[in-house]
Amino acid sequence: MTATAETTSAAAPKDGDVLVDVRGVKVHFPIKKGVIFDRTIGYVYAVDGVDLQIRRGETYGLVGESGCGKSTLGRAILNLEPPTEGTVEFDGVDIASLSGETLRRKRQDIQMVFQDPMGSLDPRQSVESLLLEGMKAHGLAKNEKEANARLRELLKAVGLPAAALKKYPHEFSGGQRQRIGIARALSVNPKLIVADEPVSALDVSVQAQVINLLEELQDEYGLTYLVVAHDLAVVRHISDRIGVMYLGALVEEADAEELYEHPLHPYTRALMSAVPVPDPVVEDRRERILLTGDLPSPANPPKGCRFHTRCPWRQETRCDTERPELRSVQLEGVSPGHRVACHWAEQIASGELKPHEVKAQITEQSDLGGDEDLMGPASIQEAL
């Protein structure tokens, strides 16, 4: 892992033990059109050049608005979505280079927890068979006694009674189903768990149960997490480090505490100021950075800085023409591991540059391919 470090940006972390090393990853989906011949008329630049490292035992939070490419990046890390470009190393090995038995064994090390616990569990399988499936496939349940002991341990770990084994997913509440999903991920002793929106489908009163469970299991089993979510409050609570994504790329990365104390990127600032806080005293005196307009289409991302169409700090030079790199900045209270992709981060932080009004620009919803006369969905997102 350390051997590749010199080939990438200077700001890449050299400390800590890197478990997942993502280098220059791009995932582009072709947009097809045509009845007889499938012509590719363009691409959705879902992930468009991401470098990040996840250290062993930490929780890395990936946050951003819908369609920014969080889930696709998560899937690329699992190699469920082979990257168009770039590499993902897991535990020092390039995942794409693996096949057969070695790939199967690596797959065991990386498990996924999904947003919709119902959709991700086969309704015809009992909890017992759901949990045994992976264990058997990976040779973790050699005999019945061993398997039973392990099943009981798993259920206990996620806080379900042993009686749950004989039941089916529909017999549980949403929060309990998410516990089953987590137990299934744990069943094969993974090193990394990628959790995509693990609590967003749950009732508010139940979300905390699952958040706490994930935290406890991490302590107990020394797990590494990649948590993908749109809710910044949840991500900040659960993560050690956070990467903020906008239109297929990281715009800022920092320790959770520092990101909150010193957000540097204009988008991070806007995002943070938009998250409602359940406290009227705070809400009343808060300054909001209201963005105008919508997220541009990832099929036609703006040139230069991708945020320039909505950025209240956008400048005449560089912003529209030159794509900013994710870089460290020299500022008080900002550590070297804190990276930001903005040409003007220093001047914005010092207050030298002030925000200005932005006129909303139209985001075309109908230019993503798809036949308009078919009354297609407004975005590819919806078609999925």
Binding site: P161, G175, H237, V275, D294, A360, M375
Partner: protein
């Protein structure tokens, strides 16, 4: 509608009488062969001009059914609606379907969570706005068009001239929600019901829509009923908050007092269980154990008792009444007191772990599996 904005404004606020009074609203779903299900169970609240009233609670607690009942949009078959919905003193529940149709739009407007399903997919946005202007304000198509353009501009749709001819699917989620707001506003309703209007939207877009709604209430004196599960949205927008649990209001108060001094264990539990962006990191969340499937029937208990942090004996024996006291109302035998509040934790042996207490596991077991007991 003949009323001017100034008229409404002079009458708004606490001193003005309620514009809409929901009295003892009860909605029962009765499907043949099934047990009747009470979705809304004796809900009462008032809405004044220029006031934003919130209905907050988790999925299934009856928020949407309450709003659909007010709007007269519940299906006729298999639903029993009791109580009163007084608008300017007149009971809307007594009106015929036709009479109610006239009231919708003109007096009562509604914005739904999913704008796509509530916009007509085959009619351009501009026509949908002008139709409302023609119907409710008696304008000609020609006179309505510039006003429609103005409305779209006002709700923050860029290049409204072009957007007039766009179909709903050509707009993004945020723009569709704006279009829906423009359509609802075109009729100048005096009461606007917004059911989770921002839940499907990204947070930066949510902030825009909430700012728009706030401005609307301030500028026109429209009364807003805001339905949401998000206490953060409530904290920023709502004047009077009603907390619903299993079809009943369990606590009510003005925004500041309710958050500063939550008294119901459910409200208190919710506030302790959500991570705050400005919270201390590393502090463990205190979840509410179990889920709504553990609820007891209100008829003979407090429905929340199995999940409550401080139940007492009577809670499982008798239904707590909603008791009004000044600006507050509370339905609880053993409210959260100052001591608990200052400790910032519901009770001494509160479940800080994820292994909640007895309530957590399937008492909802459809087969009543007795083996569930053993594992507790």
């Amino acid at each position: 509608m003949t009323e001017t904005i100034e008229n409404i404004q002079t009458r708004r606020g606490e001193d003005a009488g309620p514009l809409l009074s929901v009295r003892d609203l009860k909605v029962t779903f009765q499907r043949s062969g099934e047990q009747p299900f009470v979705a809304v169970d004796g809900v009462s609240f008032d809405v004044r001009p220029g006031q934003t009233v919130g209905l907050v609670g988790e999925s299934g607690c009856g928020k949407s059914v309450t709003s659909l009942a007010i709007m007269g949009l519940l299906p006729e078959r298999g639903v029993k609606i009791e109580g009163e919905v007084l608008y300017n003193g007149q009971d809307l529940l007594k009106l015929s379907r036709n009479q109610m149709r006239d009231r919708r739009g003109a007096d009562l407007g509604m914005i739904f969570q999913d704008p796509l399903s509530s916009l007509n997919p085959v009619v351009p946005i501009g026509i949908q706005v002008t139709e409302v202007l023609e119907r409710h304000r008696g304008l000609s198509r020609k006179a309505a068009t510039p006003i429609a353009r103005e409305m779209l501009e006002k709700v923050g749709i860029p290049d409204p001239n072009r957007r007039l001819t766009d179909y709903p699917h050509q707009l993004s989620g945020g723009m569709r929600q704006r279009a829906l707001i423009a359509i609802a506003l075109a009729a100048q309703p005096r009461v606007l019901i917004a059911d989770e209007p921002t839940t499907a939207l990204d947070v930066t877009i949510q902030a825009q829509i909430l700012a728009l709604l706030k401005e609307l209430v301030e500028d026109t004196g429209t009364a807003l009923i805001m339905i949401t599960h998000d206490l953060g949205v409530v904290a920023g927008l709502v004047d009077r908050v009603n907390v619903l649990y299993a079809g009943k209001i369990v606590e009510r108060g003005n925004r500041h007092e309710l958050f500063a001094e939550p008294r119901h264990p459910y409200t208190w539990g919710l506030l302790n269980s959500i991570p705050r962006l400005d919270g201390t990191r590393g502090q463990k969340l205190t979840p509410i154990p179990g889920s709504v499937s553990d609820n007891l029937p209100w008829a003979s208990a407090c429905a929340f008792a199995p999940r409550c942090s401080q139940p007492i004996e009577v809670c499982r024996e008798q239904q707590p009444e909603l008791v009004e006291e000044g600006t507050r109302a509370l339905r609880c035998f053993n409210p959260i007191d100052d001591e608990v509040r200052s400790g910032r934790t519901p009770d001494a042996q509160a479940p800080t772990s994820t292994q909640p207490r007895d309530a957590a596991y399937p008492t909802d077991d459809p087969k009543g599996d007795p083996t569930m007991e053993e594992s507790r």
